[in-house]
């Protein structure tokens, strides 16, 4: 029976104390008149429960920056400042706002909706210098998000033959490779995480099962008992140097992944012989010339190439190319060899917000791997010095059910936002979005087109 894919969401409160965006300071000259309590509709100001003659300390995380209390204070005893914990929360593409947004999405599972117009920087590097297209009047849109029209978010992982061969009797001669269909273009990847525990892994696995997607985990990580026979969605990832001829592989894995190395050809051949039904993926760190590496892998018949970028979404090494440009180069190289549809590209690293999923897909990835965003959904505080023992929120003590629910909320919210973008573009399925560069707007292009007659600027859209 046909069942429409749906991510069930429910409100899952955080375990850690909320991080206030603003700090309200009450100076000594407060006369406890209580006008702030009347002014605030969010409950920041309350009388002290111990001593009702006095005002309690402001509940900063409820403050929404409306300035009503400051405006109404007859003593001018109140002042507001940006929350210092909030400001120090993020860095690079992982801005404090994005991290707080992920916390919210993981808590509610809902699309963040706010009043007032856009309030950030005009544009920026990487995905910030890119807009998606929309349709109106001359092209139809899709009204997908409220379920009034169906938009598919399914993608295929695996190799697809470019064409089918039949013999004279009409019998199919092409041997069809294994393909796995995922209902969302997002997979979970925990191979680059620094904190891991049994309960955390159990929660991640439960989320992957619930979402019907894949979990990439280092080979050898074992699921707790009770998950036997369900590990087909767990992808074991073998690091460079593993002897794949003797490596143990869980019997029911549908995909396995090895690292790109000098021996990848022989490794791939050996694995194909040992596990002919299993889809083989090769992970490769993006660096200068990544497009020729991917081309090499694809022409050699590797079904899935998993390209890794750093936390900022940049290539490794000296190059500062962002995945936006890197993926476009890979996509174009494969298209020019007429093999783009035969290989699945998974891209991971620097996916920090819901909009990065459709943008990564537009630039040429089939599937987007979520990594750090998963940890942030579990209220990771994004500390520079991260270790299991110093974790301020005790990440490894999170219960599997809580982990599962938070992750499903995050992915559910991101999928809904993907539907919004697809609907606005008028696309019926996310497969059509991949490499659809003509439906994107790139900063350097519009800057050149619109402002080329205007003096100044370098017209390449780069920040100066």
């Amino acid at each position: 029976m046909f069942e429409r894919y749906h991510v069930p969401i429910k409100t899952v409160p955080g375990r850690a104390a909320p991080i206030p965006k603003f700090t309200i300071t009450r100076a000594d000259n407060c006369v406890n008149c209580g006008k702030c309590e009347k002014a605030c509709i969010y409950g920041v100001h309350k009388r002290s429960e111990q001593d009702p003659r006095k005002m309690a300390d402001p509940v900063n995380h409820l403050c929404k920056n409306c300035f009503r209390c400051i405006q109404d204070c007859p003593q001018r005893a109140l002042s507001m400042s940006p929350g210092s914990d909030y400001l120090s929360l993020g860095r690079g593409v992982w801005t404090p706002l994005r991290i707080l947004t992920i916390y919210g999405e993981a808590e509610t599972g809902k699309i963040p909706v706010l009043g007032a117009g856009y309030r950030g920087m005009f544009a920026g590097t990487g995905y910030d210098g890119m807009w998606t297209d929309m349709s109106e009047i001359v092209r139809p849109t899709r009204d997908g998000i409220h379920g009034r029209e169906y938009i598919s978010t399914s993608v295929d992982v695996g190799r697809k033959p470019g064409y089918l061969k039949f013999n004279g009797d009409g019998r199919l001669m092409t041997s069809l490779p294994s393909v796995m269909e995922l209902p969302i273009p997002m997979v979970l990847d925990v191979t680059r995480m620094r904190v891991m525990s049994e309960s955390l892994l159990e929660g991640l696995a439960k989320a992957a099962f619930g979402l019907k997607t894949l979990l990439f985990a280092s080979a050898g990580t074992r699921l707790p008992d009770g998950y036997a026979g369900r590990s087909s969605q767990i992808v074991p990832v073998y690091p460079e140097g593993t002897d794949v001829r003797s490596a143990e592989i869980p019997g029911d894995s549908s995909i396995l992944e090895i690292a790109y190395s000098n021996d990848w050809r022989s490794d791939a051949r050996a694995l194909r012989e040992r596990f002919p039904k299993t889809i083989l993926s090769v992970r490769v760190n993006a660096s200068r010339g990544i497009e020729s590496k991917v081309e090499e892998l694809a022409t050699a018949g590797i079904p899935v190439v998993h390209v890794l970028y750093d936390e900022e979404g940049l290539e490794y090494g000296n190059g500062d190319r962002h995945s936006k440009d890197s993926l476009r180069a890979i996509h174009k190289a494969l298209v020019s060899r007429s093999i783009r549809d035969e290989v699945t590209i998974i891209a991971g690293g620097g996916v920090a917000a819901a909009e990065h999923v459709p943008k990564t897909v537009i630039c040429g990835a089939d599937v987007v791997a979520l990594e750090r965003a998963l940890m942030l959904a579990l209220e990771c505080r994004n500390h520079r010095t991260c270790s299991e023992d110093s974790c301020p929120i005790g990440m490894k003590t999170a219960s599997p059910d809580w982990v599962e629910a938070r992750l499903e909320n995050l992915v559910g919210a991101w999928r809904d936002q993907l539907l919004e973008v697809l609907g606005a573009m008028g696309l019926r399925e996310v497969r059509r979005l991949r490499g659809e560069l003509g439906r994107a707007i790139f900063l350097e292009d519009v800057e050149r087109e619109a402002f080329s007659g205007i003096e100044g600027g370098d017209h390449d859209g780069k920040a100066r």
């Binding site: 603003f22 100076a27 969010y42 929404k64 920056n65 409306c66 300035f67 009503r68 400051i70 405006q71 109404d72 001018r76 002042s79 507001m80 909706v113 706010l114 009043g115 007032a116 117009g117 856009y118 950030g120 920087m121 005009f122 544009a123 890119m130 807009w131 998606t132 297209d133 929309m134 349709s135 109106e136 009047i137 001359v138 139809p140 849109t141 009204d143 409220h146 917000a353 819901a354 909009e355 943008k359 936002q417 919004e420 973008v421 609907g423 606005a424 003509g438 707007i441 519009v446 800057e447 087109e449 619109a450 402002f451 007659g453 205007i454 003096e455 100044g456 600027g457 370098d458 100066r464």
Partner: protein, 504 residues
Amino acid sequence: MTTTAKRDDGCPKVVPEADVVPSEHLKFVNRYTVKRADTCISCGMCESLCPYGVHKRVEGHVKILPPDDRKCIGPSCAVNYFFCVANCPTNSLSIGVSDTFISLGDPRWTSEIILATWKQAETGQPLGLDHPGNVGFSGGGFDKLKFKIPDKKGVVPPEDVCTAIDLNRRGSGEKIRIPIPMYGGGMSFGSVSVYTMLARAKAAKKWSTFTCTGEGGYPDALIPYKDHVITQVATGLFGVREETIQRTRIVEFKYAQGAKPGLGGHLLHDKNTPDVARMREAVAYTSLFSPFPFHSVYSVEDHKKHLDWAHAINPKALMSVKVSTPNDVEMVSVGSYYAGAHIVHLDGGYGGTGAAPEIAKKNIAMPIEYAIPKVHRFLVSEGIRDKITLLASGGLRTALDVAKAIALGADGAVVGTADLVALGCVRCGNCESGRGCPRGIATTDPVLDKLTDADWGAERISNLYNAWRLQWCELLSGFEMTDISELRGRTDLLTNGTPKGVAP
């Protein structure tokens, strides 16, 4: 108080007078803060020095009051002999940037712009062309484009400068000329209170320009201002009736909104109070998401059928088409012209909204700065540029933004958020849920909406328009222009950032 004479031939020279509107409650924040350390001995030196009244001691009190830093002029005071910090015998005073000031605003609507807009709404006096409240620091678009303002000032007196534009440039139909190159954008009943709508309508009447109902129906309170209220027909068709289309002079078809291009209007359940629901013919306290798009419009021909239908109901009304800014926005604009539109209103990606998904605001459709030249050039090359009025909106915050939009190729602008800021909005962005705006502007809460007085608001908005007009006059006179239409398409008067080889 005089009102503008509507003349088809010339330019309305008489505009409403500006009067200071009492707005003490909005003076809660200053750029600077003055701190007094515990080492103060309350000698009273600072009180005797400061001419602005920052330092005060109540008669008979021993201790001096905390500094009233709203009146402080900041560190630049150091050049004065009466600078309190330098003269304090115990070195107890310090001046710095106020944390509250930093907490206000964002890169697009900076605290400087908000305070400058409040000041203009209070006094009706324009900003200098080099005031920091003219541009934001978002680092692109209007914040990077700058006018090459010549040194000579006031070559043409403001009363000889014409800032009027025509809304109907086709051969037939009512000629409508508005004395300032802008009108108010659609904000629905539901997203904002009826008092806010009334304030905008009253200001629009005073200025002989327009405001727009938005998609939430036409409250009866606006009927006295019907000659200055545009009826919007949006995809939800909320509250659209034959009589609301018949009583208006301009019908606006909203195909898309800049803040949420490709998505329908959002009114979250909390704000759909019984009054709003009655107007929208919906069930109270349910979330109302308009469909997207008009499911009856999938081509320019369908679009023409839409306009024809409105034309049949009200043959006199001008047709405005509000569209967002996709890649093919120029095709949409030309299509709109051939379907019979008088006004093409481009709403760019960074526009205002009462509620929109955050992902849509930044990421879907291009900013208006890129769309205007694209559409303008295409309309010119199609030979129809002078038969249609091109209005721009979506992130136009100040008078200079409007002037830049015109220099890029628009005829005029549509403004929404600036009106709300004139009413005291701080852009906190909490209009969408709960009781709505805590400041009583974008709310439907029966208690909170009383915070905005429509007459007071109308004066504030009118003052803002006055300040803007004077600023345009100053700009145009610097360029030795006498009519704002001369500015259209003059990209040669702009620079994009700091030109190469020129010191910033």
